[in-house]
């Protein structure tokens, strides 16, 4: 194997992993703050992708612009969903909120289907490629990776350096304690869920920056599945954990693939994915609560 290929694969893995990471962060955040397993995460990712598509096709707005629209839409959607539905379920068993988010995900998917139909849409947005030895990495995918990374950094700074950020962490660790500090816990829940929804929709836009094709109402389901696994790998509720988990997955995909390809497996990608899940199971044996959870 030539060294150029190795470097290329490594970079590719980092970009891909970064995207997987940002996809998982929203899920982890919502769980961390409100103990809600958000099954509508995938549907929100799909809506993010449609946002990018709609604004690109309709107003010729690049996905970079859609990024902000997606965040704002997600934020307000999340907050209103919280006040309409989830607020009444906060005290209930974890499973009840699971049911609610499941219903929400069906609803969001159906609205998308009725609005856009089931066609697999796509758009061409290209910023050119950068050559790494014989291989090419598109600028848009590098940009996607960088935006993902900086989002995680900004989010971490927000959580650890601002007053509202520490209120969010406080509510996550002990809602009663937060009340005692005079924090309006419902407002913070709404904010946290809003940020989670915003991140989910934003990651939908980032996905279209990496691959602006194949957009349809059921786009989100595989990402939801993957984020679940990544989130557990990194430690549920941990932002950095989710991101690092994503990077591990991205790298594993590009590293393991050539091995299985060389071993003449009939579907090397399937074996790669299988190995990722085995890694997860082994890790759970050693560290039951993930890599980044104290």
């Amino acid at each position: 194997m030539d060294p150029g290929l190795i470097i290329f694969l490594f970079l590719q893995g980092l970009v891909l992993g970064s995207i997987y990471g940002i996809v998982a962060v929203g899920l982890s955040l919502i769980f961390g703050i409100a103990r809600i397993i958000n099954l509508s995460h995938g549907a929100l990712i799909m809506w993010g992708a449609y946002t990018a598509l709609t604004f690109f096709v309709g107003y010729n707005l690049s996905p970079l612009g859609s990024l902000f629209i997606a965040i704002v839409v997600g934020l307000s959607l999340g907050a209103s969903i919280f006040y309409l539905v989830l607020r009444r379920l906060i005290g209930a068993h974890e499973l009840t909120t699971l049911l609610a988010t499941f219903a929400l995900s069906i609803f969001l998917e159906e609205i998308a289907r009725l609005n856009y139909g089931l066609d697999y849409r796509g758009f061409s947005w290209s910023l050119g490629v950068v050559k790494i030895f014989d291989y090419r990495l598109t600028y848009s995918s590098i940009l996607a990776g960088v935006i993902a990374l900086s989002t995680v950094i900004i989010l971490t700074l927000f959580l650890y350096k601002t007053r509202i950020g520490s209120a969010l962490r406080g509510v996550a660790q002990d809602p009663v304690g937060a009340y005692i500090c005079g924090i309006d816990v419902n407002k913070i829940y709404a904010l946290g869920i809003g940020i989670g929804f915003g991140l989910a929709m934003m990651s939908g836009v980032i996905i279209t920056m990496y691959n602006p094709t194949g957009i349809n109402p059921y786009l989100g389901a595989p990402y939801l599945l993957k984020s679940f696994v990544i989130v557990v790998l990194g430690g549920l509720g941990s932002i950095i954990g989710a991101y690092v988990g994503g990077i591990i997955f991205g790298l594993a995909e590009v590293v393991l693939f050539p091995l299985y390809d060389y071993l003449h497996f009939h579907s090397p990608m399937s074996m790669t994915l299988f190995t990722e899940f085995v890694i997860l199971l082994i890790l759970l044996l050693i560290r039951p609560y993930g890599l980044f959870r104290r």
Partner: protein, 490 residues
């Protein structure tokens, strides 16, 4: 928690009695039900037997049979004649056709396309053709349908509902092989004719079902035309084959593999990818150094689009790229623009590649149904979009209706058995192409795939030469040239 009101013991006399009563009811009821509903001896018996093979050797077997069936004409083992049907004293006021079809779920897009095609065909029969000619009268068709959500549970439920509650006369299949597999036993149980326009897997027809008739080309023959086309422009090509690891594309790839072996061609890379793939880069880095001439892809929508995107990004050039399904849709060109130029898609049918009454009379085969223009106009009426371009799924669904109508007329009966017998012997040309099945398995043997290529922003039929509207472009422009604006011009 309150303290236990009942004792900790599980087996009190009461519970034991209840269990025994329950089990007795269950078993007696089960026996009773099975005795009542076990079908009496079937009305017709077939004399053929399908040689049994294990799961491991199933693949080999299928390919062998298909090619035997197709290349050498099979020993004609037609079904024994059913009892002659006397005309029913009162004819129904309409002929009801039932269908469970995926309008939502993973197969929703294609299911909807086929559904609209079927509606167009029924409209043609009722309004232009006047209805089904039966015993000197004309009887209109009526469609009863349910959305099966691409789910096996639903398709089973609704298939039975169509037969038993809605009392349909004939069934059209659902779309996609797994769903057709799930509904087949139900149709078979009620001896209901099932016209399969949506399950391309050859295997459906090798399970010994008697009542299933296929309209379009089975999956294993999807790409063989592409190889013929490739050979016409390039001697001894090096082929790369990658395919989605699902029922349909596996059959497609199997067909390519077998056909190439037969012709002594070289497949330099042959790998599957999982259905929910999100990144092709690892495959592409393995393919790039091989410097092959042709890329054949067994794909669906999202993966086909993703692969094209990443091929363009990596600028991995082939003189010949043939891809299933995704490029056949206008969304593909909307997504890629000029980059789509030169990509080839095998298709059952395309606008512009239709069979006409003239071709039919030249071949000496009977013609039935609307012309292509009529069909497209009706389709556009149905979808309320004056520029809509029906995909081949719509045409296949429409062909299913037309073939069924013709068979009913020939049989002069609404008895599924009688119609099935006619279907086994009938040779027909519709705008969709030829129809003739292997009388025993019901597998399609006459319909031919065509190849379409994106040339100057249009999908143009380039193969087979009989119906071609333009020459095959080979080699297609490289990705770099396409990015600079070069189009595929013959």
């Amino acid at each position: 928690m309150s303290s236990s009101q009942t004792s900790g013991k599980i087996f009190t006399p009461l519970t034991i009695t209840l269990i025994i009563i329950m089990l007795v009811i269950g078993f007696v009821g089960g026996y009773y039900a099975s005795a009542v509903s076990r079908p009496s001896a079937p009305a017709i018996t077939y004399t053929y037997s399908v040689p049994y093979t294990s799961v491991a050797t199933q693949t080999l077997y299928i390919e062998r049979t298909i090619y035997q069936t197709l290349l050498t004409s099979p020993p004609a083992t037609t079904p024994t004649t059913p009892k002659p049907t006397t005309p029913p004293p009162t004819l129904p006021s309409e002929i009801v056709i039932g269908m469970a079809v995926p309008l939502t779920g993973s197969q929703g897009e294609v299911g909807t396309a086929g559904f609209n095609g079927i509606k167009a065909a029924i409209k043609w029969v009722n309004e232009r053709y006047g209805g089904v000619h039966l015993f000197g009268k004309t009887i209109p068709l009526r469609l009863v349908y349910y959305d099966d959500e691409s789910s096996k549970d639903k398709v089973v439920q609704y298939t039975e509902r169509l037969i038993t509650v809605d009392k349909v006369h004939f069934l059209l299949s659902s779309y996609s092989s797994p769903l057709v597999f799930a509904q087949a036993p139900i149709a078979e149980k009620y001896n209901m004719l099932l016209i399969n326009w949506g399950g391309a897997s050859d295997l459906i027809h090798l399970q010994g079902y008697k009542m299933i008739v296929m309209v379009w080309t089975p999956a294993s023959l999807y790409m063989t035309q592409a190889i013929d086309a490739l050979l016409s422009v390039k001697k001894d090509p090096k082929i790369v084959l990658i395919y989605k690891d699902d029922e349909f594309n596996r059959m497609v790839a199997g067909g390519v593999r077998n056909y190439s072996k037969k012709l002594g061609l070289q497949i330099v890379y042959d790998k599957a990818y999982p259905t929910d793939i999100k990144d092709f880069t690892p495959y592409l880095t393995s393919i790039a150094p091989l410097k092959a001439d042709a890329l054949i892809v067994g794909s669906h929508f999202a993966d086909g689009q993703l692969l094209t995107r990443q091929l363009a990004d990596q600028e991995i050039d082939f003189g010949f790229i043939a891809m299933n399904i995704a490029p056949c849709y206008t969304d593909y060109y909307k997504a890629f623009g000029n980059l789509a130029e030169g990509i080839i898609c095998p298709s059952h049918w395309e606008v512009g590649a239709s069979y006409t009454p003239e071709i039919a009379s030249k071949l000496g085969v009977e013609w039935f149904g609307p012309t292509e223009e009529e069909f497209v106009a009706l389709y556009r009426e149905i979808v309320k979009d004056p520029t809509a371009r029906p995909p081949y799924h719509a045409a296949s669904g429409a062909a299913a209706v037309l073939i069924l109508v013709k068979a009913i007329e020939k049989a002069q009966s609404l008895d599924p058995m009688a119609v099935r017998k006619v279907l086994g012997e009938m040779h027909l040309i519709t705008f969709f192409g030829e129809y003739k099945i292997d009388p025993v398995t019901g597998i399609q043997i006459a319909h031919k795939m065509i190849l379409v290529q994106w040339q100057k922003g249009n999908l143009v039929v380039v193969w087979p030469p009989e119906v071609a509207k333009s020459k095959l472009v080979f080699p297609i422009p490289t990705w770099a040239e396409k990015k600079a604006g070069k189009q595929a011009t013959p």
